[in-house]
Symmetry: C2
Subunit: 417 residues, 2 copies
């Protein structure tokens, strides 16, 4: 038996025990894990330093290096997140519904852990601690497969977190990372349908696509966000400008940042030039259709290609297109979007209602920035990712997304007629 299969079997065993632990025990374990992160700071930062040197020698971009880097402040923040998790209400055991059947069976549907959660993600060590915490909170075992650039950091974090959890009564195998950084290891993981209940990929579009195409385990797709702002003909010009600016430049590298701007034919001549100017001033490169370019509003404006409509830039870039009206805007979004977050700016009641009904995305806004699609903003308390599929969970996934349900029937001898 391979090492990975053995880990998955161990995780399933751990999950069966975890599912029976009390909230109190799991919350204590989270506090222990929080303490261990700061207590073992030197060990974790030493491992991270090896990864950083290695990544630098490979010519890794500054943005990626920044995501990879740990320091005392970041460890402290990860530790605080685990403490905050311990204070959230426990979803496990919640009775979702129940009734007494006509034959007298008392039937309840109760929230239970999913079992074994696997995560495949890129070189972001903070995801290791977040995922371990969220899974312990919800009584799930977790198998982590982080990006190879963060390998030493992840192994150190996992060792520290798993030991702390075990010391406080969590079973062996509750938190595990895959040792091998080979591609084959991830491929093997995706076949372990008998032991792993769900696989959550977090990362770029390529990673997610590869997991969706190859996994035999149920997948929750997350995160790719080609988000749109649509300025309707009745929009308030100032509000439109503020929302576009916020959605594009406040944090361009995240999935709920806007990538594409659609503007009605009836208002683009007046409403678009000041927006383009502000975008330019904030360093945004614009990829625009012919009518927008013909406005001559800004110097740096490229010709948009068909590919631009479908691109998630995650950068200070934005595509801009003039549309004939609401129908074309909805159709464009449903064609090129990734079903993440979209916003309409309008003063028209009927247009707002049609937009929210017909746009097929996890989150749809009227007169607000797409940047609000986030577990924290939605009041979920913690988030394991943002689902862009329609099964199981959609949009920001909080603790409830890491649970399943079980029917329990209490009878006194009932048989079926």
């Amino acid at each position: 038996m391979s090492e990975i299969t053995a880990q998955a079997i161990q995780a399933q065993k751990a999950a069966r025990f975890l599912g029976t632990t009390s909230s109190e025990l799991r919350n204590h374990a989270l506090l222990g894990m929080a303490h261990a992160l700061t207590h073992n700071q030197d060990e974790i930062l030493a491992a991270n330093a090896i990864d950083l040197v290695d990544a630098q020698s490979k010519g890794t971009s500054p943005a990626l290096l920044d995501r990879l880097e740990l320091n005392a402040a970041r460890l402290k923040s990860m530790s605080e997140s685990l403490k905050a998790l311990s204070l959230l209400p426990d979803p496990i055991g919640e009775v979702l519904e129940g009734s007494t059947l006509s034959n007298g069976i008392r039937l309840v549907k109760v929230r239970v852990p999913i079992g074994v959660v696997a995560m495949i993600y890129e070189a972001r060590p903070n995801v290791t601690a977040d995922a371990a915490g969220l899974c312990i909170k919800t009584g799930n075992a977790v198998i982590l497969r982080g990006g190879s650039l963060a390998h030493n950091s992840n192994m150190a974090l996992t060792r520290v977190l798993a030991n702390a959890a075990m010391a406080l009564g969590m079973p062996q195998g509750s938190i595990a990372s895959i040792e091998s950084t080979e591609r084959e290891a991830a491929e093997e993981l995706m076949t372990l349908h008998d032991y792993i209940d769900v696989l959550i990929p977090r990362g770029g579009a390529g990673l997610i696509r590869s997991v969706v195409e190859n996994s035999q385990i149920p997948v929750i797709e997350t995160g790719t966000g080609n988000c749109h702002i649509y300025i309707h003909g009745t929009a308030d010009a100032e509000m439109a400008k503020n929302i576009v600016l916020n959605a594009k430049v406040q944090r361009p590298g995240v999935c709920n940042a806007a990538e594409s701007l659609l503007v009605d034919e009836s208002c683009y001549r007046t409403i678009l030039p000041p927006i383009l100017k502000e975008l330019e001033e904030h360093g945004v490169t614009i990829f625009a259709d012919e009518p927008s370019r013909a406005l001559g509003a800004v110097m740096r404006i490229e010709q948009a290609s068909e590919a631009d409509w479908g691109t998630e830039y995650l950068d200070l870039k934005m595509s801009v297109k003039v549309v004939s009206g609401l129908s074309e805007a909805i159709s464009h979004i449903n064609t090129y979007g990734t079903r993440h977050s979209e916003a309409i700016i309008t003063e028209d009641y009927a247009a707002a209602q049609r937009f929210v009904n017909e746009v097929d995305s996890a989150a749809v806004y009227v007169n607000a920035s797409t940047r609000f699609t986030d577990g924290g903003e939605f009041g979920l308390g913690a988030e394991i990712g943002i689902s862009t599929q329609k099964l199981h969970a959609r949009g920001p996934m909080g603790l409830a997304a890491l649970t399943s349900a079980k029917y329990v029937g209490y009878g006194n001898g009932q048989i079926r007629q």
Copy 2:
């Protein structure tokens, strides 16, 4: 573009319109579909007759022929089911939760259709009408791929149902069956991740396994049920006998029938012999471990092999094993079961609680037959299958299992700080 891809694109287009239709319109369409089934009886039965002759010439088993056969009474019953569906409350549009965020955005989470549902199933024409009805009810487009033995029946049913739905305002492509009976057609269907939102296989373990292994579309696994009855040492002997008999023989070919009986060492000598005798009288072949056989209670009792513990017989067969107690029973069920339905027969409070907590199945019963795991029995009104996975839906899947959710945020210019 292949015919199947074209169908999937058409279905996605249909789904976008369907998602905006009123309950009233969808319920009218269901009534029209119900009427069309009886009105076009001759056409449907003629197509079914071709399938039946063909199936007989291939030496199909009487049980399968029975499932394949349509007649006036069965069409009438399918028609009644569609009428009953039209009377159920509409889950679409239900507000699942909502709040006003601190920045003033009014956020609601609303129930929406999934989009495009695909089903792959065996030669049971009634599934064609059921699935079409459940999907229209929930505003989803459906692509059906039935077993090749029922091909003519399915094509006739789909034609009749789709025409009736279209005549009452449902868009073209809302209900479609795949014309090709080739294996490649099903394989192609499983790759159409961009157009199909969920794939539900219904049928034997082999069919479901193949879909789970090959589909790139999110799958809801259904139906395989290696269900257990565990007789605890404190069980009431008469209740135990009645429940075992009911769970095994009342309808042995269904997924919630019991396949395996576990009996405590402390009571098997007295409690098991009368149960084995009754099973034998009802024509059940028993595959038993050594201690059960040594009782000499019945004539027809085979030696159980390791494979028997993992077998879903779907027949008048049952495996029987003596266990040392509750822990072994739970561990046996979690090892060999299919996470469908299990029951404990006990008078002991703590044993009952431990069993329902630790057995990892969709439905767990105390002192009741496993045969109750069923949408109708659970009061769901209609059922598209029984999920044996933990994601999205677990246990009997009613209308809600065919829905997703969307977040809608109503703002007045909010941007993220």
